[in-house]
Amino acid sequence: MNLKKLSIFFATSGTLFLYFLSLLSEPVVVELSDLPDYEGKKVTTTGIVTDYFTTKFASQMITIKDYNFTAVVYLEGTCDVEYGDKIQIVGEVQRYMDDWEVIVDNKKNLKIVEKWDNVSFPIWQLAQNPGRYLGLNVNVTGYVESIFDSYFYIVDIENKHSLIVFYEDYMGLSLHPGKKVCISAKFLFDEKNLRYKLELCDERHGVFLETKG
């Protein structure tokens, strides 16, 4: 067999062999905190969206967080993520200045695994680890305690934790003390009064009465 025939045979069969190999080859799944160990490598990781914006070149920069570790996702293209969404990405880890970035070259490699408004949790869960949810959209359940003009308080069933919720007048909420509610809002820190707060500041935010309560 001469080199011509050999090259055709090995070029095609080799490519097919690599194709089947690629089906078995999956990027390693890592925590965000382990990204520095995988610089230059392709990984799969998950995190909660804390910030995002679209660049003028129609790419998207998404900041994700997992406990105390933050990374930036550079997505070639855009997708409909929101604050608080849990996303899974597959991309190459790179260091840019002091930040860790995951370069996602295809929209298909970014999956929203949990929309923020599909998951609700009780107020004590926020109290246990407030830093994890800071700046995110959350769905929190609790009982209305006291109501004021532009804010009200919610507490948990054992009255151990209480949280202030701010809303705009135009929302015209109809609340009654003791009612169980589910609040979709942004969890923020009120620096002036040194306390955490929930703020209804988006059209998707709201207060929903729980029927069992």
Binding site: L3, S7, F10, A11, T15, L18, Y19, E26, G40, F57
Partner: protein, 446 residues
């Protein structure tokens, strides 16, 4: 003043490294940049004393960028030497002979190197003249890049079609004559293009891992296999009798001067295009330039190819600041090291100024060094153990591939080499192998 001295010093270091890497056959300049990036930490720690002297850490990162850019530019000058003197096929059996190899066989290897250096240096000067006009065309107020982005899919399809339809090689099979060999040539070019594209899709899904913890660019084994290894492998299988080389300086007559000027201009414009459009390389830029130019003289092909190469290396630096995109390994490395400030006004950003100083100096040094080293190479070439060098080079590429991408990288290198051998064996253009990048990028834009 000391700042400028440091910039010049790092530029010289880059040129010296570029000479070394350029003289090693089979190593692509992008791979060199990625290798440099992975060892940039060593540079930072080595020059940490500059921080004690009061220089900000950002400035040290800038110096490393100067080093990388100078190295990549010098590499584009020097790599013509091994590609001229090494890997020449047996002219009796080879279907396609590169223009530089053709001159080598006529005893004009040094002339090929001189023409290449001329094309590269001419491109540096021409690109510098075009710097500001191109900035206004690509960025505001013309925003050519934005327009191009909107039609990028069609641009890439047009480039691919141009490459395949301008394939001139003839492949005889099934005993068919007349125009059939030309048609088979085009079909074979299409086959190589599509196979490389599929290969590209496949390798981007494969995870490669460095056994010593280095960055693992999967394109390194793929590009080394497609473009570097085939020439080396075929040259091992052939034993060309290379005539004694003429060492006289190249004197250009008026007609050749005009022709070379035109080659530099079209080559530089082709290089600028390569630095803007993703997925196309200097080889594709040369095809476009030669088609625009309408001349296929082998000497002018060398000038044009070198002009495209160097203009591309020049303008990827500028494009980093205008469109904020990296279009080469060197630019990618620099963008990871320094914060790029967009060039949106008339005034050139400070970091770009330093990088341009480096490009101009590196271009000038490299021009004279290429001529000097080219002459030495031509003189001593007959005494060089040619086969041994080729074997050592193949081993070195394999070792580097293993160190950067592990065992899986070696498998990719092997099969990429077989794909890269197809154009060499059947005599079609090697640039069709750029389907490895072009086809995945075309699918990205669909």
């Amino acid at each position: 003043m000391f700042t400028l001295f440091l910039v010049i010093f790092f530029c010289l270091l880059g040129v010296l490294t570029g000479i070394a890497t350029g003289l090693l056959p089979g190593l692509h300049v992008n791979n060199i940049a990625l290798i440099l990036l992975s060892i940039s930490g060593v540079f930072v720690s080595s020059f940490g004393f500059l921080i004690d002297m009061g220089f900000p850490s950002d400035f040290i990162f800038l110096l490393i960028s100067v080093y990388i850019i100078s190295c990549s530019l010098a590499h584009t000058f020097l790599d013509c030497i091994p590609s001229t003197f090494l890997g020449a096929p047996d002219p009796d059996t080879a279907l396609s002979v590169l223009p530089a190899h053709s001159l080598l066989m006529e005893g004009k290897g040094f002339e090929a190197v001189s023409l290449s250096a001329l094309g590269s240096f001419g491109a540096v000067l021409f690109c510098f003249l075009l710097l500001v006009p191109i900035r206004f065309v690509i960025g505001s107020p013309v925003f050519f890049y934005e327009t191009l982005r909107e039609i990028m899919l069609f641009v890439l399809l047009a480039v691919s079609l141009l490459m395949i339809c301008t394939e001139k090689s003839k492949i005889e099979c099934f005993g068919l004559k007349k125009h059939w060999p030309s048609i088979f040539g085009m079909f074979f070019a299409l086959f190589v293009f599509l196979l490389s594209g599929f290969f590209g899709f496949v390798i981007f899904e494969i995870v490669v891992d460095s056994p010593i913890g280095l960055e693992s660019p999967v394109l390194f084994p793929a590009l080394a296999g497609l473009f570097g290894m085939p020439t080396l492998v075929t040259s091992l299988m052939t034993s060309p009798v290379i005539p004694e080389q003429k060492l006289c300086d190249t004197v250009l007559d008026e007609k050749t001067k005009k022709s070379s000027f035109l080659s530099v201009v079209t080559g530089s414009l082709g290089g600028i295009l390569v630095s803007i459009i993703p997925g196309i390389t200097s080889a594709t830029g040369t095809v476009i330039s030669m088609n625009v130019r309408g001349e296929s003289d082998k000497k002018q092909t060398i000038v044009t190819l070198s002009a495209v190469n160097t203009a591309c290396a020049f303008f990827v630096v500028v494009m980093m600041f205008v469109i904020l995109r990296s279009r080469s390994g060197a630019a990618l490395a620099v963008m990871e090291i320094i914060a790029i400030e967009e060039w949106s006004d008339v005034l050139i950003p400070q970091y770009l100024c330093y990088l341009l100083i480096a490009v101009l100096l590196a271009g000038t040094f490299s021009y004279f060094l290429t001529l000097k080293i080219g002459k030495i190479f031509a003189k001593k070439f007959a005494n060089v153990p040619y086969t041994l060098i080729v074997k050592l080079t193949i081993s070195m590429v394999a070792v580097l591939v293993f160190l950067f991408t592990g065992f899986m990288g070696l498998i990719i290198l092997l099969f990429a080499t077989f794909i890269g051998l197809l154009p060499v064996e059947f005599g079609v253009r090697r640039s069709h192998c750029m389907g490895i990048l072009l086809i995945p990028i075309i699918f990205y834009f669909i």
